[in-house]
Structures are given as structure tokens and as C-alpha cells.
Point group: C2
């Protein structure tokens, strides 16, 4: 049996990210990743299903932090979801813009990874909506609040990782949430000649 | 060369729906579909890429009607998107609940078809957002209005096709849009210590 490796998971995820950046996702093998991390292939497969998973290791933590935030806040549903994304921004993203940009450029390079990222966001949405329902929020309200919050986060995140951005992710979430409020609450046009 | 077939497309799409319902999607072949429609396989492949496409033949019409509605209305962006879905509801769905329910049950039976349906909705979203931008709506506002409108439509549609529903799709869209307005405009938590 392989010896227990301190933070083998973290080393493998970091090695995978390095290699995906250097050689591209398609040109990197699990053997390469394990070697870069100073571990063997068996250790990799004990921890990850495939090489793609090494790039999505944070998914569960993301859900845990978001669900905890939704559960703890007393805010109304949409505000609760925005609170959760603020928490993610502060606890998991804030100091890691460079890393996040590298990861994003790797994902952008592969339809397979984009599909996996979409799946991760759907799973996060489902976890947040379930946390709202567990607090007694009705089904439709929970879905509307979650989908709206996820859209806000997605747009804020895209602005944050874009080249040249210098606003914090937290502030961008606040900004886009305010834009959404304005868009949704714009009174149905009183003067239909000027839409 | 095969003779020109009057409405071969419509006959093939109807035959595909019948057979998917009777035998299931996986157990139906293109040969079956062509035979049921009284046509040959070559005619099928001249009109559709594969058997899946026969179930998604209305996608382009959906986009055309939605884009025209967005382009013609003077309403503010979110309202314009809701107007587009109202138009789709009236022109393409209203009298077809039975057919839509059958189609939905076929889609629900196959992850491959669900993926294709998602893709259709993404394509519809992109077309609507582009139509808003073409009218001078800013990028973020266009995306927020479109995503919100699509979420409203998705929930209204799910209620409409659910067993026992007897409200019109148009009314359901209006109802869910009102719920979204209420969810988004609920006052931000006045006591941020509990946020």
C-alpha cells in the first residue's frame, strides 16, 4: 500500500493546473500529473476520477460555504443568495485572482471542461435552492432567487477575471445585483414610444 | 433524385414524435420514422441531421418569433423579453398543450434529449440578447433581462405542462414574472449583522 501522502490532493491539483497551463489539457496525462506532484498514478486515481476532476476539486467546498451562508443569514431569499456569493468571493476567491485567471483560461480552451464547469454551477445552484427550501422558502421563490443570484455571480465573475479589471469580486457582485434590481423593477414602460 | 415531397419535414417530425412516444426514443430508428411518414431514409437525412433533430424542428421558428417580438416592442428590456415569451406562448404553444406534454415526456426520458433541449434554450437566449443589443441595450442589461426572462419562461412552462394545470401559459408567464419582481425587489436586509 502506498504511504499516506500529506496533502496529496492539493499537490496533485496544483500539478494538474501547472501542466494544463504549460501543455494544454489534451496534452497532459495522469502520469504526467502524478510525476509532477512526486506521486504515483495509483495515488491520483485514489483521489480523483480522472484528470478533469483535478481542476474541479474545489466544487464541494464551494457548495459547503454557500449552503452555510444561506442557512445562517436572516436575509430574504435573493439577498441570502447574494450573501452566499459574497461569502464565496471573500473566503475562496479574493486573494487568488491570478490562479483563477489561469484556471479560467484552461477551462475556456476545452468544451469538455466548459461542460464540466456548467455542471458544477448547476450543482451549486441545486444546493443553494435546497438550502433555501430547507428554511421554508417556497419552491418557485427558491428557484427564482437562486437562478437570479447565480446569473449575478456569473456576470460579476466574468468581469472580475477579464483582463484589466481592478474591482474586487465582492464589489462586482454588489454592482451587478444592483443592475439586476434596476432591470427587473424598471416599471413596465409608461410611454411605449420610448422603450 | 427523390421527388419533392409536400411537407415532408412536417410529416417526418410528426412520425418521429409518434414513434418516440410508442417505442421510446432509443428504440426508434430513422428507417422507422421514414417508413411511418411514407418516405425514405434519404429524404429524412436531407432534412434532418439525425433522429434527435426531428424533435427540435421548431427551434428556428421559436427564435424568429422571439427576435421579432423583441425588435418590435418599445418596452424596457426585461419587459421586452417577457413580451417575446408571451408572443411565443400565444403563437406557438397555446393550442398544443397535449402535443407539448408528449414532447416533454419524451425529452424527460433521455439525458441526450435534455442536453439538446438545454442547447436550444441557450441558443434562444443568445438570439434574444442579441436582439436587445441590436436595439442599443447595454451588454450586461441585455444579459440580465434575457436570463431573467428565460428563467420566468422555464418555470411557467414547467407549471403549464405539469399534470392538472389549467392556467394558460400566457397567464403563467405573467404570474411568474410578478413573483420574480417581488423576489428581486424585496428590501435588502436592514440589519447587516445578520446578513
Amino acid at each position: 500500500m502506498a504511504r499516506w501522502q500529506p496533502d496529496a490532493r492539493g499537490r496533485l491539483a496544483a500539478a494538474a493546473m501547472e501542466l494544463f497551463r504549460e501543455r494544454g489539457f489534451d496534452n497532459t496525462t495522469v502520469t504526467d500529473i502524478a510525476a509532477r506532484a512526486g506521486l504515483d498514478k495509483r495515488t491520483f486515481y485514489r483521489l480523483f476520477g480522472d484528470k478533469r476532476e483535478a481542476l474541479f476539486d474545489g466544487g464541494r467546498l464551494l457548495e459547503e460555504v454557500a449552503v452555510r451562508a444561506v442557512t445562517e443569514t436572516d436575509a430574504a431569499p435573493f439577498e441570502a443568495v447574494i450573501t452566499a456569493f459574497h461569502r464565496l468571493a471573500k473566503e475562496l476567491f479574493a486573494d487568488r485572482l491570478d490562479l483563477v485567471r489561469v484556471r479560467q483560461s484552461i477551462i475556456d480552451s476545452s468544451p469538455e471542461l466548459q461542460e464540466r464547469e456548467l455542471h458544477k454551477m448547476r450543482s451549486l445552484s441545486a444546493a443553494i435552492a435546497a438550502a433555501l427550501r430547507a428554511k421554508g422558502t417556497g419552491e418557485t421563490t427558491a428557484t427564482l432567487a437562486t437562478e437570479s443570484g447565480v446569473t449575478v455571480f456569473r456576470l460579476a465573475f466574468a468581469r472580475w477575471v477579464a483582463p484589466g479589471s481592478d474591482t474586487s469580486l465582492t464589489d462586482l457582485i454588489t454592482e451587478v445585483a444592483a443592475e439586476l434590481r434596476a432591470v427587473i423593477s424598471a416599471a413596465p414602460d409608461p410611454d411605449p414610444d420610448h422603450g
